[in-house]
Amino acid sequence: MIEIKHVKKSFDGKAVLRDVHLTIPKGETIVIIGRSGCGKTVLLKSIIGLITPDGGEILVNGKEITTMDREDLFQIRKKFGMLFQGAALFDSMTVEENIGLALWEHTDLSDDEIRRKVREKLEVVGLYNVEQKKPAELSGGMKKRVGLARALIMDPEFVLYDEPTTGLDPIMADAIITLIVETSRKLDITSIAVTHDLVSASKIGDRIAMLDDGRIIFTGTPKELKSTKDPVVKQFVEGKADSTSL
């Protein structure tokens, strides 16, 4: 379980997260939505300790991570996988090295065993015979799939998705959504995705939370989101711009 309590974060005096409070139970898939630049990625990176909040607490399975030393934080991160917005594959490595790196670093598995596991994860994301390719040789959708395989390689308890469908065509986006939903169910993973794409959010999330002005202003099922009366949430759902939108 992940508990986010009164988290605050500012950059150059500008408050991005003012008072974020959210609990994500084990096994749930939650999608955090909100306008571009509202702090969704900052929140996601705070959960894995890539950004240290200015205040508040983040508890992962009851352990407070914001005040942890680096070594303990690295132990906690082994429970996580993260899919980055641009996949963030290591340019200088092959697909196999990208996916297997965590196993080479953290386990005593043999090279053959690691290669077998890499192939398994590539099959999970629907890719075959790409092990020796470099990221530059892959399409956007393939990069996301490799990024997902890398996120899953340590069989994580939690997977974080940063804008998983951004930059993909609708068909590839749907394929990635299906992949996320299936892997979350099959592997009993607690998943947190951030997106501004409501179609993806509704398909992926058991529950949706909306971040606005540095606070969570809505949590509910995709059905509840569509029928909300909250004017700010409604405006986002309906995609209507007003004088404050620019």
Partner: protein, 239 residues
């Protein structure tokens, strides 16, 4: 910077266990710098020889014999020219390239991705580059000194009519091990410092492609300044 250095030094055990990563960096920093170091060293030696002859004969009017040219040029190469010029070459080629590579990794979230895999980027990226810079720079300086001596000898032999025996006899007759030692001390400091500056600037890069460009220039400027100022301080300490 000192905290960064402390974290790098704390990763030494890991770095030594992962020799492949260090060897890759040694190849990049050391072997791939050889062509440029060779060109710089040949012409540095050649011009040092020519200028030394001009000073001894033209300016000083032959008070000191050209038989001492080899000794003077050799000392200048070992103490100053090779460490400083090889250092500047490495600052331009390697320091800037480290900053550009790590800066690109930073702005494309590859360093965040490493952290998300519970891999310490300082240990995985910076420590091998520091160790490679630190160890390869003395090798480059030894190689550069040898090539510069050859450049100086060719000019002395072909253009100044100094015989091989006179040139190398002079070099050998006034050779001091301490000169080599001081050049190697400088090489260790310059190599480690250049890699450290490149890594530190690369890790703190922000602002997309423009930020990477700024980081690259900054790494070269800071590394060059570090070498020139460091050379002065080390000269004061060593001599």
């Amino acid at each position: 910077m000192s905290i960064f250095l402390y974290r790098i030094l704390g990763s030494t055990g890991y770095t030594l266990r992962n020799r492949r990563i260090v060897l890759d960096q040694m190849l990049e920093i050391g072997v791939h710098s050889l062509p440029l170091v060779t060109i710089v060293a040949v012409f540095t030696g050649a011009v040092a020889s020519w200028q030394a002859a001009y000073q001894l004969e033209g300016v000083m009017g032959g008070v000191v014999s050209l038989d001492y040219l080899g000794a003077g040029v050799s000392a200048a190469i070992l103490i100053e020219l090779s460490p400083v010029l090889a250092g500047i070459v490495v600052a331009g080629r390697v320091g800037a390239s480290i900053a550009a590579e790590l800066g690109t990794m930073r702005v494309t979230e590859q360093i965040d991705a490493l952290e998300s895999l519970a891999i310490d980027p300082v240990r995985y990226l910076a420590a091998p580059r520091f160790v490679a810079g630190w160890t390869m720079m003395p090798v480059l300086v030894i190689y550069s000194s040898f090539v510069a001596h050859m450049g100086a000898y060719v000019v002395a032999f072909l253009l100044l009519d100094i015989s091989t025996t006179a040139f190398f006899g002079s070099v050998q007759g006034h050779f001091l091990v301490y000169n080599v030692f001081s050049g190697l001390v400088k090489a260790l400091v310059f190599g480690g410092g250049t890699a450290l500056i490149g890594c530190s600037i690369g890790f703190r890069t922000a602002g997309g492609a423009e930020g990477v460009g700024r980081a690259t220039i900054k790494a070269f400027v800071y590394s060059s300044a570090f070498i020139l100022v460091g050379d002065y301080i080390l000269a004061m300490v060593l001599f």
